[in-house]
């Protein structure tokens, strides 16, 4: 199965050469070997149109990126983008003209947003050129990876084959 067909996709966003900006990629890489088949792990730079392609056709997406919202470094934010908008200032670290927030909102406007989109933001400390994560960010990345494994399990439980029975319709 290719990534383009997986029902559940984990998307790590960032740049490993800009220190803590690479945390999304680090989480994705740590999950690659730990997830069952049927779950794709993707790495993205955060360029919006590529993101739109990356989640096209997915049933559920968990996206991880570094953020700079003013909270303490290592703070973990969890947003359910299915429910509502992502605060504009959240991913403003990206210098892309069209980035994560815009991609989510554009997909919503075009009715192309997957049914479930969960966004993890990890507050970064250092975004300068270089490799490696700050200590508190590395710690948060391990915690986020563990939480994503749980998220995937609960997403997969919802995926139990639907026989279109009345109970299934109620559940959904």
């Amino acid at each position: 199965m290719t990534a383009g067909q997986a029902e559940i996709r984990i998307i790590g966003v960032g740049n490993s050469f800009r220190s803590d900006d690479g945390v999304g990629i680090a989480v994705a890489r740590s999950l690659r070997e730990r997830l069952s088949s049927g779950v794709a792990v993707l790495e993205q730079s955060g360029e919006g149109t590529a993101l739109l392609e990356a989640w096209k056709g997915a049933r559920a997406v968990v996206l991880v990126d570094a953020v700079q919202s003013g909270a303490a470094p290592g703070t973990i934010h969890r947003l359910d983008a299915t429910a509502g908008g992502i605060p504009q200032a959240f991913f403003r670290y990206s210098t892309h003209a069209f980035s994560v927030t815009e991609a989510v909102e554009l997909a919503r406007a075009l009715s192309q947003l997957p049914p479930r989109v969960i966004v993890y933001g990890i507050e970064g400390r250092n975004f300068s050129a270089g490799e490696g994560l700050s200590a508190e960010v590395a710690e948060a990345s391990a915690a986020v990876a563990a939480r994503i494994l749980d998220e995937v399990l609960s997403l997969q439980e919802r995926e139990t084959p639907c026989t279109n029975s009345p109970s299934c319709q109620i559940a959904s």
Binding site: S45, E47, L52
Partner: protein, 429 residues
């Protein structure tokens, strides 16, 4: 009150971080500053001491939108230094890769960054609610460009398959065949794009620019040609430093480029088009004429049409290359280092991108110089704003600010590319 100030603290819909300041006093524009506060990048310093073979991959990291341009200028400059001639099929495939990057970059700018200005939307998201089909068309074009770069470059952004002398690995014929189908659909979408943007309202505004672009005897320029202008410039890339200078200005982290003899100049799609209309494919020429463009376009707001015409050309040219495709016998020409300085200039989506490398006998880079398109256009952008605001002082404040931002986006500035260097000056008393 006789004085007013137009201030945009954070420019939206441009790559990178910049701001604009226009000061008006007694109905006169007294100051215009396009401020670039994206931090300096020091890429030229990173290159010193690295092997020549690393230059395409290191410089590709300067920009996520036009990495192919950096790879191409780096390869051509180093091949110039070592006296390497690439095989004709490799040359064709490089053009094909470059077509992919133009399609990616132009589709993004036309649809998601620039169109909202003309249609009166804050951004593409709000525009998408009213114009979903147009936005989907833009995204499908961008995807077609991604597919080209993916196939030849190994991935969509920061391709990894380009090396000095050619490519690391070449795809097989069936993979190219699938691409042709995508590009045929993209070409139709590009033609529709030209028709769509031609209906936009354009401010009546023209200036007598000095356009600078490459010109090649047989083709619309990507990788090769002489640097020419409509005011008499006609030089090889080797002579670039004799004719162009970079100046540091206090309000910007990006250097301003000038022609030593005449000052500001204009690079990018509109310059390429106006200097090379005769080299466009017939289909692209017809699309331009039907959209009401002449062979020279001096209204920078119409750059959105020119970019769309180049989308048609890039799809058309990619299909031409695929139609005559020959898989080269070897993926790359052999490169033997020698002590030399090499020069390369290619046409990035936003205009000419100049690279110069001085190399030793082991192929180690002793020094490098990179001049990206946006730093070359900065002065022209400021000049445009000065003229445009002077001529439109009667516009309501909000509309004037809107059109000032639009005037900057006419150039599709890539601020991340432009801030590659900062001169530090220490003054002592």
């Amino acid at each position: 009150m006789s004085g007013k100030t137009i201030k945009v603290d954070y420019l939206a819909r441009v790559e990178g971080e910049g701001a604009l300041l226009v000061k008006i006093k007694d109905r006169r524009v007294t100051d215009v500053q396009l401020k670039i506060f994206e931090p300096p990048r020091f890429f030229e310093a990173f290159l010193r001491g690295r092997n020549f073979s690393e230059a395409p991959d290191i410089t590709a990291r300067i920009c996520g939108i036009c990495p192919v341009a950096y790879q191409m200028s780096a390869c051509h400059a180093i091949e110039d230094a070592f006296g390497v001639e690439v095989d004709p099929p490799i040359r064709g495939l490089r053009r094909l890769l470059y077509c992919g990057e133009w399609i990616e970059s132009h589709a993004l700018h036309v649809y998601l960054l620039h169109a909202p200005d003309f249609l009166g939307y804050e951004d593409a998201i709000r525009m998408a609610k009213d114009h979903p089909d147009a936005v989907k068309r833009g995204l499908s074009l961008k995807k077609a460009g991604n597919d080209v770069v993916n196939l030849l470059g190994g991935r969509e952004i920061h391709p990894i398959n380009v090396r000095v002398g050619g490519f690391y690995r070449l795809p097989g014929k069936p993979e190219f065949a699938a691409l042709a189908e995508t590009l045929k659909r993209a070409r139709d979408a590009a033609l529709e794009t030209v028709r769509w943007v031609a209906t936009f309202p354009f401010p009546d505004y023209e200036r007598d620019y000095e356009f600078v672009a490459l010109r090649h005897p047989a083709e619309y320029p990507f990788n090769e040609g002489r640097l020419v202008s409509n005011k008499g410039l006609d030089i090889s890339a080797r002579e670039y430093d004799q004719h162009f200078a970079e100046e540091h200005v206090a309000h910007s982290n990006a250097l301003h480029s000038v022609l030593k003899e005449r000052g500001s100049y204009f690079v990018g799609p509109q310059a390429r088009y106006s200097l090379n209309f005769d080299k466009l494919s017939r289909l692209a020429q017809e699309a331009a004429r039907a959209a009401g463009l002449g062979e020279v376009c001096r209204n920078p707001f119409q750059s959105v049409i020119v970019r769309s015409v180049e989308l048609v050309y890039a799809c058309d040219e990619a299909l031409r290359i695929l139609g005559e495709l020959e898989i080269p016998a070897r993926p790359a020409a052999e490169c033997r280092p020698r002590v030399a300085t090499g020069y390369g200039c290619t046409e990035a989506p936003r205009g000419i991108l100049y690279h110069r490398y001085r190399l030793d006998d082991r192929g180690i880079i002793l020094d490098a110089k990179i001049v990206p398109p946006t730093s070359q256009n900065q002065k022209t952008i400021e000049d445009d704003l000065r003229h445009f605001v002077s001529a439109n002082l009667e516009l309501p404040e909000k509309k004037l600010q809107w059109q000032c931002e639009q005037a900057i986006r006419n150039y599709d500035p890539c601020i991340s590319c432009a801030t590659h260097f900062l001169k530090v000056r220490v003054e002592r008393e």
